[in-house]
Every structure is written in structure tokens, then in C-alpha cells.
């Protein structure tokens, strides 16, 4: 059973809908007992980083996730804010994150945007730059749906598995052992996202 971790932020229903579509049993829950049972986890999220960390910290969910992910190495996929929360710190609210990967979350540099508006909202092609099981059998010109004003910045480039370009090139997906993250929304990215999620569940 996959648990889509509910910590009070964002749109969880569409992830569950996509799981159902690809035949994966998934439930939305914030209940520690249910999260404990999960063989795979999805950390979703759309919203404010600070609020996200506050919710994770206050409910005791953080300690539980730390144990399941870092000690027990259960596979987890962070999506959008959920992936950003896995970094060490964010400029959004100037707060520390879970610190599972060697990266920070920074705002798009206004000066480098060449008139492009923030947030980056829409479909972008990604440049795969590392080996990731998530990219198995993915067509070369795959595109994904993005909505974000902040992005990851990695100190260990070997953890970056894809980049995208908006104003400039930035990391949009990562993998460190059992920890996966995508800035884009696979659950909203047609057959391309469907493939990525299938690959996550296959592994």
C-alpha cells in the first residue's frame, strides 16, 4: 500500500486519481499508524514552504518520516513543494527543511528572468542528466507540468537527475538512494507523468 502523506497542504486527490488509473493502491492519510504501514510514500504539496514545515513538525510526522525514509529506507517521492521540503533550507519563509538531500530551495532570480513571469507555470521539456529509474522508457521529448516560484539548488550535482530551463537552467528532479523528488507534477502530466509514477511504483 502506498500512502500519500497528508500534512494539510495542497491537492492530494489528483495524485490518488492517477494512482488509481495506473492500478496502484494508494490512500491519502496523515495518520501515523497508516503512514507506518506504507511500503511506498508520496510527499505531495502545493503551498508555502514554511507552513509545510510547521505542519510536519507540529504533528510528529517529521520524526516518523525521518525514521521510515532515512533509517528504514522506504522509497519516497516528493512532488513540487513536497520535494522542496526534502532540501535543507528554503528562502520561502527562511526556514529549514527536512535536510534529506544536499540542496537548498531558492527563489527564481528575478534579474535573470528576461521578462519571464514568476511563477513558472506550464509545460516544459526536461533534460535528463543522471540515471534514474524514474526515466525508464520515457520518450525523448517528454514534457511535464510545472507550477513554482522556488527551485532546488544542489551542492552535489550527482544527485540531480534532470534540469529544466526557465530564465536559466535549474535542477528539476533528484534522486538520492531511496529518495526521489520532482519539481513538476507527474500526476498532471498526461502519459509522461503516468510513466514516471509507474516507474516509481515498479522499482
Amino acid at each position: 500500500m502506498t500512502i500519500i502523506v497528508n500534512y494539510g497542504l495542497g491537492n492530494l486527490t489528483s495524485i490518488k486519481n492517477m494512482c488509481k488509473r495506473i492500478g496502484v493502491e494508494a490512500d491519502i492519510s496523515g495518520d501515523p499508524a497508516r503512514i507506518e504501514e506504507a511500503d511506498k510514500l508520496i510527499l505531495p504539496g502545493v503551498g508555502h514552504f514554511k507552513k509545510g514545515m510547521e505542519n510536519l513538525n507540529s504533528g510528529g510526522t517529521r520524526q516518523l518520516l525521518d525514521r521510515l525514509v532515512l533509517a528504514e529506507r522506504r522509497p519516497i517521492l516528493g512532488i513540487c513543494l513536497g520535494a522542496q521540503l526534502m532540501t535543507g533550507h528554503s528562502e520561502e519563509g527562511d526556514v529549514d527543511g527536512l535536510g534529506w538531500v544536499d540542496a537548498v530551495t531558492v527563489r527564481f532570480e528575478e534579474a535573470a528572468m528576461n521578462g519571464l513571469k514568476i511563477p513558472n507555470m506550464g509545460w516544459r521539456e526536461i533534460n535528463r542528466c543522471g540515471e534514474s529509474p524514474l526515466w525508464a522508457d520515457l520518450p525523448a521529448e517528454s514534457r511535464f507540468y510545472f507550477v513554482h516560484s522556488y527551485h532546488f539548488r544542489f551542492t552535489q550535482p550527482d544527485e540531480v537527475t534532470a534540469t529544466a530551463v526557465y530564465g536559466y537552467e535549474y535542477a528539476c528532479a533528484f534522486r538520492k538512494d531511496n529518495i526521489f523528488g520532482t519539481q513538476f507534477h507527474p500526476e498532471k502530466s498526461h502519459k509522461f507523468g503516468m510513466k514516471v509514477l509507474e516507474n516509481f511504483f515498479k522499482g
Binding site: L9, N11, G122, E125, S149, H185, E187
Partner: protein, 249 residues
């Protein structure tokens, strides 16, 4: 380089989809579930679903129906119509929508924007402006599906909505709706130049050339259309379609 979002707009009424001309003469164009499935196959960029009679009839969104529709969609979904409270907005998000469109409620209550944005983020809140002309031909922002003149100028209202925290402006020219006469480029240009947030142009599209003009000449970030994606051509029968060509800027 980025891909311009092209967004079909679907009008929901009594469980069916309709298309209007200048916000009037609604004609049935099909079943929403079936239509959404076709847009999945055609890989549409996003869909906007508007229950355009909800506010006029003073009713809440049809939560059961819209959850059913969103459950079939594997692309970003936006819903508008009858959202007056944070509670209603929450239920819409829980139904599987990424964004909500607010229009009539904003003329009485701008604070709802912040309430929603605090939980779901500003990008999830779309401020919709229906632009009509008054007796003297001046363009004004209209509420309640284009039936009520607010007396406000579109540009001024757009900047007010931006300050109040919406993440995007959905700009609809009522007198272009369903006419296939092309977007109102001067209107789009004026609003796009006045705000930093993305502007989605709507009303009048007859093809890719219009969409490209809205973006290149008007400065819109995205282009939405109704008739173009549900009819074969002007005056012709229903045919759900979506361009295979991508517009890159």
C-alpha cells in the same frame, strides 16, 4: 524558451457542457466526462471548467459532478463558478482541482483571495475579469456572468486583484465570446502591461494565428478558448479538438 499554455474552456450547466455567443445563446455541446477523456487523449495543456450559472442562480458548485469530471482528467484542472467562501473553495480543491477561478465574489470580498492563497498558494487563485462595454462603448469589468456592470475599468481592477494576491488573471472579452473574430488585443496588451502576474487571454479565438497574436502582440502568458476546441468551425457541428502544434516563445 517556453511552451505557451493553450487552455480549452468548458461551460458547465445542469451536468452538460454548453457554448455561448457573447455570454448568451447557450448551445449543448456534449457530456463533460466524455469531453475530458478526449482532451486527455489529445494531451491538452490545461482545462478550465466554469459553472457559469451558479452565481446567477445563487447556488454552490455541484461538488459531486465536478469531482467526477476532475477524476477523469490527467492534466491541470481549474474550476470556477459559485465560489463564495473559503469552505467552498476547499471543497473544490479536494475534488481534484489545482486552481480555482473567482469572479463575482471579488467585487464584495477581496479577502477571500488571501484566505485561499495562504493554504493553496497564490498560483492556485485565478482572478477572472469579464470585460463588457457600457452604453457609451467604454470597456468595464462585469460580474455575474456579464450581467452586472461594476463600473470599474479592467486595467484598474486587474491591478487591484494583483495587489489582493491572485496568481493569475483570466481576461475574457464578452463581445468576442463565440464570435471567432480574434482576441481583443488592445485589451490584453493594456492588462498584461499593467500586471506582473500571468494573464490568460480569452474570447474570440479562431485558430493558432489568433493565439500567437494574443501572446506576441498582446503579451498574454497563455491563451484560452471555447468554440475553437469544441466546434469544427464557425457555424459547424461539435468536434472536440486540440492543436498538436506547440507554440514556443
Amino acid at each position: 524558451m517556453s511552451l505557451v499554455r493553450i487552455i480549452p474552456v468548458l461551460l458547465l450547466k445542469e451536468g452538460g457542457l454548453y457554448k455561448t455567443v457573447k455570454f448568451k445563446e447557450p448551445k449543448y455541446v456534449g457530456d463533460p466526462i466524455n469531453t475530458v477523456k478526449i482532451f486527455n487523449e489529445k494531451e491538452a495543456d490545461e482545462l478550465v471548467l466554469l459553472d457559469y450559472t451558479a452565481t446567477r442562480e445563487k447556488r454552490d458548485p455541484d461538488f459531486k459532478k465536478i469531482a467526477e469530471i476532475a477524476g477523469e482528467a490527467f492534466m491541470p484542472m481549474t474550476y470556477g463558478g459559485g465560489i463564495r467562501t473559503l469552505e467552498n473553495a476547499k471543497k473544490v480543491f479536494d475534488s481534484g482541482f489545482e486552481k480555482i477561478v473567482l469572479n463575482s465574489v471579488l467585487y464584495n470580498d477581496l479577502s477571500i483571495i488571501e484566505g485561499i492563497a495562504n493554504i493553496y498558494g497564490a498560483q492556485a487563485v485565478v482572478g477572472s475579469i469579464d470585460v463588457g462595454r457600457n452604453l457609451f462603448g467604454k470597456q468595464k469589468a462585469y460580474s455575474v456572468s456579464g450581467t452586472k456592470n461594476s463600473g470599474l475599468y479592467p486595467v484598474g481592477w486587474a491591478t487591484t486583484l494583483e495587489k489582493a494576491g491572485v496568481g493569475e488573471i483570466f481576461l475574457n472579452a464578452i463581445d468576442r465570446d463565440g464570435t471567432w473574430e480574434g482576441y481583443d488585443i488592445p485589451l490584453i496588451r493594456a492588462v498584461s502591461a499593467a500586471v506582473k502576474i500571468p494573464v490568460v487571454a480569452c474570447g474570440g479565438a479562431s485558430g493558432m494565428a489568433d493565439i500567437e497574436r494574443a501572446v506576441r502582440e498582446g503579451g498574454a502568458s497563455a491563451a484560452a478558448a471555447g468554440s475553437l476546441f469544441v466546434y469544427q468551425r464557425k457555424g459547424m457541428g461539435v468536434l472536440v479538438s486540440f492543436p498538436t502544434q506547440k507554440l514556443k516563445i
